[in-house]
Amino acid sequence: MLAQLVRRATAGAAVVAGVVTLTFLLLRLAPGDPVERLLGPTATPAQLEAQRHALGLDRPAATQYTAWLGRFARGDWGRSIATGRPVRVLLGEAVPATLELVGLSLMLSYSLGLAVGMWQAGAGPRVDTALSIASVTLFALPGYWLGLMLVMAFTYVAHWLPAFGAADLDADALTGWSRWGDRLRHLALPLTTLTLIGVGGASRYVRGALRDVHAQPFVRTAEAKGLSPWQVMRRHVTRNAMIPVITLLGLSLPALFSGAVFVEAVFAWPGMGRRLVEAVQARDYPVVLAATSVIAVLVVMGNLLSDICVTWIDPRIRHARGGEP
């Protein structure tokens, strides 16, 4: 099992390395020059040249790449070309904000999705159809549009919740509970947006997995030996249905980060997605490279985590893999 995990981790590291290399190449191939944007249209060619030299952008791409990789591995992520602030500080602020949003919405949408899916799998055909339509519709909602509709309802019409940002302007002056309350009020709309869409997807997966397991002979055996429907559901069906659901949870991480890009753009949530969009538009190479690497690492780690969970839940996989050389 350990060997399997090591192999997975190596493959994950290869993916991260590939993402970083690809991003570097794409950035160099893309037209547009960060130095021109930094110095403005009035800069002379000599000034542009000097600035390029100062940033090391006039060296061959391969040299720049190895130099950047070395510095990145040592923890020196450079400074943002557009704002001059250290990239680590910029991303250090953004990563917790995104993890807070994505992590909470993942937890909420899968626990709600599990509940809805279980209810649906045991319900009659009418309830099942109604819930199916509801979950397909939720899953089909574009995050940025749902976000705008929620803003319209809760900010402009009801005046209950703030429309954007992560904290009020005077948040630094708040203490204790009022500060937490302020944060929660700002979190409410983006979190609801991501969670509603997530519940749509999760409940569809859960329902499908439960139905597949329910058709298996061992469930009929459990029913035949006189267990109550609830016991059959809990002990035999749910546990087996969790295996594909957890795998899908791991695989849905990239989609969730993608969704967060749009939702962060709508709500001006100060996370990775928004930083990345801004940095791409400003051709801010160091920020784009570091942000892409961090997102790739997070996604790979999530997949690895879901692999470990599946192994832990399913003894068959544990033993099959343990038997491997």
């Binding site: 290869a14 993916v15 590939g18 993402v19 690809l22 991003t23 794409l26 950035l27 191939l29 893309a30 037209p31 547009g32 799998a121 045991g122 319900a123 055909p125 397909v136 519709t137 899953f139 089909a140 909602l141 574009p142 940025y144 549009w145 705008l148 509709m149 803003v151 319209m152 402009y156 139905r211 597949d212 329910h214 058709a215 469930v219 009929r220 990239p254 980060f257 993608s258 890009v261 749009f262 753009a265 709508v266 990345l276 969009v277 791409v280 538009q281 051709r283 784009v288 892409t292 997102i295 790739a296 996604v299 790979v300 997949n303």
Partner: protein
């Protein structure tokens, strides 16, 4: 299915079911922000109202459907074609080349798609053709995996062995005997992929990295309605509703196709249905 046909027909017949050009601006001051079902002073009727430039939202919605549906459909065709070629080749020629193609697929599958799209969209002044290319080039992997699996299992079936025994060339066996039988899951996944592609196109246009205004696309219509949510919510609501309806229709179409084309899964769900 009926809904999709209706939307497609409306998009194709856009000039017939709408009034004037989607970018037509009349008297901006007199015709802007008219609510739905209002008529302007010149006698023009606006079923979904007008936007801040006095453009008819219904007209833009119908012309936007042309862009959104065409971009989505062409992107899915491109990614399905790429996926079939790569998955087919990887499945039927095992060995170094097949393994390499499979590794490439897994690698591309692990890339965060939206991040990649953001990077690529910054390459040039974005337009519809570029968006089709980008969505097609970043969406083939799941099709390739599906085709790969199907081809591997079909290659061991007696009718394929029979074709090989008759002395047919491998490429002919692949194109005439294996691939036509491997297409069912591709069709199902294409319907779901269409929903995804339409959503992503709208998302990119919403961020300003896709189809550029004044050409209407549902995404950039939502973006333009974003600033006028308070006084003219219909500008953003209408394209969003259209988007959701089409995406739901595509998803249901995918489910229905799966039930119709892959009866084996129906058996399982029917049986489990009676158990539940």
């Amino acid at each position: 299915m009926a809904l999709l046909t209706l939307v497609t027909c409306a998009a194709v017949a856009a000039p017939l079911v709408s009034s004037g050009a989607p970018t037509a601006q009349h008297d901006i001051v007199a015709t802007r922000f008219l609510p739905p079902l209002a008529s302007d002073m010149a006698g023009g009727f606006h079923p979904l109202g007008t936007d801040r430039f006095g453009r008819d939202v219904w007209t833009r919605l119908v012309y936007g459907a042309r862009v959104s549906l065409a971009v989505g459909a062409l992107a899915v065709l491109l990614s399905a074609a790429l996926g079939i070629v790569i998955g087919g080749a990887a499945g039927y020629w095992p060995g170094a080349a097949g393994t390499l193609l499979l590794r490439l697929t897994d690698f591309a599958l692990a890339l965060p798609r939206v991040v990649l799209l953001l990077l690529l969209a910054a390459f040039t002044r974005p337009n519809a053709g570029w968006v089709i290319l980008l969505l097609g080039l970043t969406g083939w992997m799941s099709v390739a995996r599906l085709v790969h699996g199907e081809v591997r299992s079909l290659a061991a079936r007696p009718f394929v062995e029979g074709a090989v025994a008759l002395g047919l060339r491998r490429r002919r066996v692949l194109t005439r005997h294996i691939l036509p039988n491997a297409l069912t899951p591709v069709i199902v996944s294409a319907a779901l992929g269409l929903a995804n592609a339409i959503m992503l196109e709208a998302g990119m246009s919403f961020l300003g990295l896709g189809v550029q205004p004044p050409t209407p696309s549902w995404g950039n219509m939502i973006a333009s309605g974003r600033d006028t949510l308070v006084n003219a919510p219909w500008v953003a609501v209408a394209p969003g509703v259209a988007l959701v309806v089409v995406v739901v229709a595509c998803t249901l179409l995918g489910d229905a196709l799966q039930d119709a084309l892959q009866p084996s899964t129906i058996g399982v769900s029917r049986r489990s249905g009676s158990d539940a």
